[in-house]
Symmetry: C3
């Protein structure tokens, strides 16, 4: 497994990741995907290393994916569970991180409901001149890099199974539909897709898609970002449709009237899919509210849905990330 | 470890398991028991395989037993914890299972408070032409196959340590005492014991042992099934007594007056044990309400109690089950 | 790894540990510390052995430390979580321990909010003639041996990195400051430090430091124990200051007026530190209430604070303990 040119210690955000780095991740993930489909399935790459899963915001799905990725790399894993932890005893998050550092953690995978926590911990770790790596596993409404990278990998391997790379997305039209405002997945995807030179169309109700999103992207990026308050112009001739999870609590916050109405106006259905390219594929970060973001039968249709491929890609991509940041420190 | 003739992908119920299959399980468990009592204790049989413990109904004891069994076989384990999971985010159980499938699970060990969930997931997995195996770790009041199989193994190794096999139970009298109605353990045991040709006597208060249980067994089974609302006729000349856990909530449901009264009429005591064969042994799936299902001193008496052997057998039997279904896929 | 002269099966308390035993632990930990700082980090010492973490009182920090120690020794680990366990189903603690014994546990690491539970389980295990080892990971206000041993190791390696041993503490002045009354850490430390021949000065408000503590130590111990209701005399010329965690609930129990007032009278600050030896070091078992037991900047000052070394030592010391009791049984 070549590791030429990888120099980042942490993966906190995709905002400044460059084309070459994306390609290293995609190729490394492809190599691991190869291993996973063989008989061995485990590599000793991180033997003796400790991966601490600090999920201050609980999550079974993402934690399991990271856990399996770390196990495939032969790392030892420590799971931190906030419910029974010292946090309830008044310890600061930074002190928790320092404790796991002192125990011997080489990589910290951090999820927190507040934006910026993984960055703050990484900054502190660097100040202390430690070699520990921090991987953002979702921070508030800020970013969720590993999710966007597995989306990217899923799409790129579909376009070229053997040689997934960023340039494959150049000029592709990709619709991101739903609650953009609250989505860290959307934000991370906007960075990767525009870096790839794709045309990204955001679509959602005005309450969940404020105009300020257009200011995100400066002219220096290869791709374009467009914004629609109706879903149809986003879907028209789209190559890929990324749907986002709708949090039910948005209704009590009066940001949308009802799930049923949401589905009526923004849900992805077979009818609406006719607007897209014939080869269109649908992604969703999961878990899906069946019949809300996407009609239930469409979600299960392997001709259109990439949802299960995304989960499978997740393990390979997270192996790649842990490997790249973990085997250098 | 020979695996001749094993062809089942899933273990969901014992209702249609045949004699030869029971014997393969018993012999495989015996081989593993051998290994466990040696110094090595680990075998690479499931190296690289992923066992997902999907315990939608929480359980420490059964989960630990499966977890240790999987570790002894060198498998990687993913634990799903319902409390912090996507289920609370509205995901369906089937979607959760599909997520673990996509992550790479080879075996899913499933416990759910609703009968039929493991079967439903297995059916869906087969429909999707996957090779994943499903093992029912307890579903509602339906079945708990691994518990009945460890009971069977515990009894058979007592009768012939080196060559445990189903025929050893032919003609034996086995009493199952307690809350039959709500017991998945009782149901699974009825299937295995009658297939073995044993004489199974159910005993419990009428509210917890409806007559319909007699209709369970058709004439095609080798063993007999009898039903008693008093405990004495069931115990008379019994070779083995299986006690069942009494849920305290049955009282608030007015299904029985009090734990004390239950113990008075159905509890296994030294006095009552005199009705049985002198060599009688007592089983209980645990956890025991001391002084309710069984008197406290009797539970701790190694001359009569098989309770701790059952737990020990559990690891070997679950290793056998995971091995049989897991090394073929 | 020599294991000459170690004969204890359990580690339940430090009250009767003798000098030679402390030295074996310190030297074994030092060997493991060596391994941990190398590239391999894992040793096969406990391969095939099962360590059951029975944390009836939840704890992330201590459990993680034991878990990592066990993984470094290649043991298999079973985590018992009281929330989802049979305890809520009415099982006794002893029955839970017996269940894990029957599953195959070789070592039980036990934490319980009630004093004496680990001892009671160990006694029962010995009565049953089992070979299982019990390690007390904190019981009520009784003892927390592994914490005191890691404190000891941290101090001794500071005094002689290559050859940590008990005699290094002879004549040293050590202040233990805070809520002595409720602290199992303080009690365990009193035993180890007085055995080492240190001069131990306890300091805290009268409500949290009753006079009876003076009766703890009989004349047969090498060290001395002194008691102060003001912090200054304890700090004067001290070589080490051990601060203890203050539980916030002590306020609602009217044992102290406020955290702020506590800090004013007993908090360790730069000013107060001038009373100590110039080379003084501060310890804290964590988690720290910043600005209560110790001023926040002092806690982060590597010139004075040993807090992160304590956490690091913890893994090595726990490896030593698991190894010493686990490789003999």
């Amino acid at each position: 497994m070549a590791k030429t040119n990888w120099s980042r210690r942490h993966i906190l955000s995709l905002v400044d990741l460059i084309s070459n780095e994306y390609d290293i991740i995609l190729q490394t993930a492809a190599s691991f995907r190869e291993i996973l489909s063989g008989r061995t399935k485990k590599v000793p790459a991180l033997q003796g290393k400790v991966v601490a899963n600090l999920f201050f915001e609980p999550s079974t799905r993402t934690r399991s994916s990271f856990e399996l990725a770390a196990k495939r790399l032969s790392a030892d894993i420590l799971n931190f569970s906030p419910g029974t932890s010292s946090l309830t005893k008044g310890e600061t998050i930074l002190d928790t991180a320092k404790t796991y550092l002192a125990m011997g953690a080489d990589i910290m995978v951090i999820r927190h409901k507040q934006a910026g926590v993984p960055q703050a911990i990484a900054t502190e770790m660097d100040l202390k001149k430690t070699k520990v790596s921090v991987l953002n596993a979702g921070d508030g409404q800020h970013e969720h890099p590993s999710q966007a990278l597995l989306d990217l990998y899923t799409i790129c391997t579909l376009l070229d199974r053997d040689r997934p790379r960023l340039e494959l997305l150049e000029g592709k039209k990709i619709a991101i539909v739903g609650d953009i405002l609250h989505s860290r997945v959307a934000r991370s995807n906007i960075w990767s897709l525009t870096e790839a030179g794709a045309e990204v169309h955001l679509a959602g109700p005005p309450t969940l898609l404020p105009k300020m999103f257009l200011d995100l992207i400066k002219n220096d990026r290869k791709g374009k970002l467009l914004l629609h308050w109706e879903v149809e112009p986003a879907l028209r001739a789209a190559d890929f449709v990324m749907t986002l999870r709708l949090q039910k609590e948005r209704m009590s916050q009066h940001l949308l009237p009802s799930l049923r109405e949401y589905h009526q106006y923004y849900g992805i259905t077979r009818d609406r899919l006719k607007l897209c390219q014939p080869h269109v594929k649908i992604l969703h970060p999961g878990p899906v509210n069946r019949g809300v973001e996407i009609s239930s039968d469409l979600m299960d249709d392997p001709e259109f849905s990439l949802i299960s491929q995304q989960v499978t890609s997740g393990v390979a991509v997270r192996m790649a990330l842990l490997y790249l940041i973990g085997s250098s420190n």
